[in-house]
């Protein structure tokens, strides 16, 4: 890692206590997701194997967060569920950026009818109520983890297309693009060398903020059964599974996965806020 310069963006991020705590929390979640098989004695249960002897065990030493209706250890389920919930959020945002950013850049840089065409398509996708389109697509493609990701990403990319276009438009007006043009640098080199690096910051900021929201939406889809399929579970599925028993005393089933989503989404939001402030010198002054 490079030396962190005083006053640099990274330095600001580290000074932001909320962002730092969030990063630590997310790291913890990520580590427990990645090394879940090593960290829990109930790895197979995390992958869906039932243990009917522990059915509905309330929180105890063996099962600190209790066990579900098929007796699976909730901690293991949460750790394995984190793999899906986190990756869903990240994948949605990455796919959305991968689709939206190039389109937005092309639209913004080239302008004219290409811009018009891309932006009208974007408008159509933006006009869809986000969850609803995802529901329709997931229903059409069939319920599965990857279909849910695709469905949400399809509703998400227009935001990045818009963002990338707006940024490209403002970068395109910068004198250094004109300077590059005046030298005779080719368009694709300009896009790659001058525009892309300069629009990435706001996209990364938005991306960080969006991961949390994407996790929420993905959990919503899973909650109504259109996401991760049994025997695997993500946090949304766990809430949904536990919900039937929630009011009749088995509170631990839905509470903990809900908290996990809540805290993770919060962490991404705090982190995203932190990155935004750190990346924008003007905001640093304001805050």
């Amino acid at each position: 890692m490079a030396r962190i310069e005083v006053g640099s963006s990274a330095w600001f991020l580290i000074r932001d206590r909320a962002a730092l705590i969030s990063m630590a929390f997310l790291l913890l979640i990520a580590v427990s997701a990645i090394f879940a098989p090593l960290l829990t004695p109930y790895a197979k249960q995390g992958m869906g194997d039932p243990d009917l002897t522990a059915k509905f065990k309330p929180p105890s030493i063996e099962h600190p967060l209790g066990a579900d209706s098929l007796g699976r250890d909730q901690v293991a389920r949460l750790m394995f569920g984190a793999r899906r919930s986190l990756s869903m959020g990240l994948l949605v945002v990455l796919i959305a950026i991968a689709i939206g950013a190039p389109l937005g850049m092309i639209a913004g840089y080239l302008g004219g009818w290409i811009d018009e065409a891309i932006m009208r398509v974007t408008d159509v996708f933006l006009a869809f109520p986000p969850l609803l389109l995802a529901i329709a697509i997931a229903a059409a493609l069939g319920a599965s983890y990857i279909n849910a990701v695709m469905a949400i990403a399809v509703t998400w990319w227009p935001w990045y297309a818009r963002l990338a276009r707006a940024q490209t438009l403002s970068v395109r007006e910068r004198a250094y693009i004109e300077a590059a043009n005046s030298i005779g640098v080719r368009d694709r080199v300009i896009i790659r060398r001058h525009i892309l690096p300069n629009i990435m910051t706001p996209i990364i900021v938005q991306g960080t903020l969006d991961v949390g929201t994407a996790i929420l939406v993905a959990a919503g889809l899973s909650f109504i059964g259109l996401g991760t399929q049994a025997p695997f579970a993500d946090w949304g599925v766990m809430i949904s599974d536990g919900r039937l028993f929630f009011l009749s005393g088995r509170w631990w089933l839905s509470t903990f996965p809900g908290l996990a989503i809540f805290l993770t989404a919060m962490a991404f939001n705090f982190l995203g806020d932190g990155v935004r402030v750190a990346a924008d010198p003007r905001l640093r002054r304001l805050l």
């Binding site: 030298i183 005779g184 640098v185 001058h194």
Partner: protein, 342 residues
Amino acid sequence: MTDSLLIVRDLSMTFRRRSGLFGRRAQQINALSQVSFAIEAGETLGIVGESGCGKSTLARCLLRLLRPTGGSVRFDGVELLALGDEDMRRMRQQMQIVLQNPFSSLNPRLNGFDLIAEPLRTHTEMSRKEMTDRVASLLAEVGLSSEFMSRHPHQLSGGQAQRIALARALALNPAFLILDEPTSSLDVSVQAQIINLLFRLQRQRGLTYLFITHDLGVIQHISDRIAVMYLGRIVEETTSEEIFAHPQHPYTQALLSSTPVPDPASGGQRIILPGTAPSAANPPAGCAFHPRCSQVMEECRTLFPTPRATAPDHQVSCHLYDFAQYQRIAPTITIPEEERQQ
């Protein structure tokens, strides 16, 4: 005039801004109207005017960063407006531009080396070693050490950044340099450094300059000839000495008189123009300057004044000089107090 490096004839640039329902109504903005001038090799032509007069559009049209809607630009005998995109791209090796604010004209993500090497990468097949040597010599030429190869724009002062921008413009050994307000974002002491550098480079390399500015002090210092622009047209053009000694167009006179001189003793009566420049989207009929002109005549309101010579090598577009080629009318330059407020 055949041996002039750059000959511009009747250059026009009309922007269309779409508005109204579904953009059907198009608004025309005549940013440049029939601009003609020529620059001899090794000479500096200064273009002066206020914001919105079209001087920056002119620079961009000459380089074909914008596509002019009419006229002709011959550079070194080649008609630029007839060139294909690829030929024009190559032609840009010969003509370069330095922009006003070095911090915005240098990509903040690139370091000094990459910035200066970019034109070399674009137009030559140099090895990395050759490139490094070339960048180092360019840096030396603009008075910077090779350390600056690794500096990013935010680590530079304004003067240093403008030197990098100059080095970059010189990388391909162009013959012609357009300088678009290269010093107006700089402090006075730094501005002096850059102006001196520009002189030195012109002497050493035999460069031809088109120098654009709103600052009369700077322009008279650096230019051989000066063209004054108002609302997309050149209203007066002559040598540097002549224009300061004998300004002819009422606008030029007002401009000269409005410019504060750092000499409390110079005192004198000043011309204070009333109102502001009209919009290029909606220019007044006749002479565009007539609504602000203190000597407005009837024909000014309807008839556009074509350029005419009032002295050898002194062109003015003003009806005041209608009947008097080579004859100077000494205009009165005082305006009653009340009128100034309008």
